[in-house]
């Protein structure tokens, strides 16, 4: 957290964001606690249920399979409980 944040005098008023799509810069992955989901690609059947259920859209499609984008994964574990073949596990990193 060494990043310098702007002073109140220099921020645009009212919390207005002047640049569209800037929410991508907001890496909510740092909200994640000690547990991180991990996909066992061997077990994965590419059913895409985790992709649908992830409330943060942190599961991305690659080819016909899936990958977790840890920049945005908050570690809720919903994907783990939704995967019908138990291909995702929460690992302590």
């Amino acid at each position: 957290m060494s990043e310098k944040k702007p002073l109140w005098q220099t921020l645009p008023i009212a919390g207005i964001l002047l640049e569209p799509k800037s929410s991508l810069k907001y890496k909510t992955g740092d909200w994640r606690g000690p547990f991180t989901p991990k996909i066992n690609q061997e077990k994965c059947t590419k059913c895409l249920l985790c992709w649908i259920y992830c409330p943060d859209g942190a599961i991305e499609r690659v080819g016909d399979g899936v990958r977790i984008n840890l920049d945005y994964c908050k570690g809720c574990g919903i994907c783990v409980s939704e995967c019908p073949v138990k291909a995702i596990t929460m690992e302590r990193l």
């Binding site: 109140w8 921020l11 009212a14 919390g15 002047l18």
Partner: protein
């Protein structure tokens, strides 16, 4: 020669809005404010204005529509009272936080329960921390003049904050007064179309009302507080320009007899007229009474009040609202705070009066003066907070 016409307080506000080239009015009727929007809707119906008049289903929606319209860069007005203002409470904060220069007429009325439609300041005082500039008019002329000036203050690029123009329910809203009105062209030149700083525009998208967590939120609140305190600067400019135009000089604080006053009364709104009447009469008998009327209540004119009262021996602070369980009523707390801050040791008695529209007569205020003279003489305060005229 200025044109003089007879208008009630509500009609005068509507007349001012007609001249201010307002783009959007979204409002919901509530006594004693109804006449403002009713009179204005006639101007719309008759084609005298090209304002978009939005009939909404509640005050919460009214203020929400106003915020949306204001963000597009429109000049926006609404009006409400009492329960209506209370229902808006949530959105009042959003309007000021999103820096929407909306102007709102608040026709002060008591809050339920019991139901009461008459005037007191409980409604505005209940929302006094909402970040709006808050102005109190003493009479119908002032309600008209302040409404026009309010837009110019609100829309100043250094301010960008909403403004309430408060007028006492029934006492002003429904009393006819002969007022001097400006010519339409003069108002138009005083108040050119709004020049917004940021607008929501599909061709140039910006994000308004996004999340700000502990690492950012605080900074935006400080910005807001700074803008509100700093708005005095813009007001100064507006007052002189308006004086040039109308010959009527406004300020953040009005004082009467403070040059040699031994004691003083401080009050908001229409009671100030009664207070000056009483002071004038007593002065004829050699009693040196002064009267202070903060025209602007938020931001609070600390410097001006301290400067005006520093020689007095005792002060009566009149509040037309209660702050249940608090050390003082709202204005009383503010005065006590600024006296403490400036190191002035002036005895203060805070009077809560006129709740639910109970009349306050010259005799009531004369009794207050006599009590305060006694406090000034003895330096002794028997009761810090009193309820004037209660059985």
């Amino acid at each position: 020669m200025a044109k003089v016409i007879g208008l009630t307080g509500d009609e005068a506000v509507a007349y001012a809005i007609k001249q201010c080239n307002v783009d959007v009015v979204a409002a919901y009727p509530i006594t004693p404010q109804t006449v403002i929007v009713e009179a204005f809707s006639e101007y719309v119906f008759n084609g005298e204005v090209d304002t978009e008049f939005v009939c909404v289903e509640s005050e919460h929606s009214a203020m929400s529509a106003c915020v949306g319209a204001s963000l597009t860069g429109a000049r926006v007005f609404t009006a409400t009272a009492s329960q209506g203002l209370a229902l808006m409470h949530e959105i009042l904060y959003i309007a000021s936080s999103l820096r929407c220069p909306i102007v709102m007429g608040v026709v002060n009325r008591a809050l339920s329960a019991p139901i009461n439609i008459h005037g007191d300041h409980s409604d505005m005082m209940g929302s006094r921390d909402c970040g709006w500039i808050q102005i109190y008019a003493e009479n119908v002329q002032e309600a008209y003049d302040w409404t026009i000036q309010a837009f110019k203050i609100a829309e100043d690029k250094e301010v960008l904050l909403p403004v309430t123009v408060n007028l006492d329910g029934f006492i002003l809203s429904h009393s006819i007064e002969g007022i001097k009105v400006l010519e339409d062209e003069d108002v138009a030149s005083f108040l050119p179309p709004r020049e917004p700083v940021y607008t929501i525009d599909p061709n140039n998208p910006i994000t308004v009302g996004a999340l700000a967590l502990p690492n950012y939120y605080f900074e935006f609140k400080v910005q807001q507080d700074h803008a509100l305190r700093n708005s005095f600067k813009a007001m100064g400019k507006v007052f002189s320009e308006y004086e040039e135009l109308s010959g009527r000089k406004y300020d953040v604080l009005h004082t009467y007899g403070m040059e040699d006053a031994e004691i003083a009364l401080i009050c908001l709104g229409s009671t100030a007229g009664t207070a000056r009447y009483v002071a004038k009469r007593l002065r004829e008998k050699g009693v040196k009474v002064g009267v202070l009327k903060p025209w602007v209540y938020r931001p609070f004119p600390e410097k001006e009040i301290v400067e005006a009262v520093k020689e007095v021996k005792a002060l009566a602070v009149m509040d037309r609202a209660c702050s249940f369980g608090a050390p003082y009523a709202p204005l009383g707390s503010d005065i006590a705070s600024i006296l403490y801050k400036s190191g002035l040791d002036i005895p203060v008695v805070n009077y809560v009066y006129g709740l639910g529209g109970r009349d306050v007569s010259p005799l009531d205020l004369e009794a207050v003066v006599n009590e305060i003279l006694e406090v000034a003489k003895t330096g002794e305060i028997k009761e810090h907070l009193k309820f004037l005229g209660v059985r």
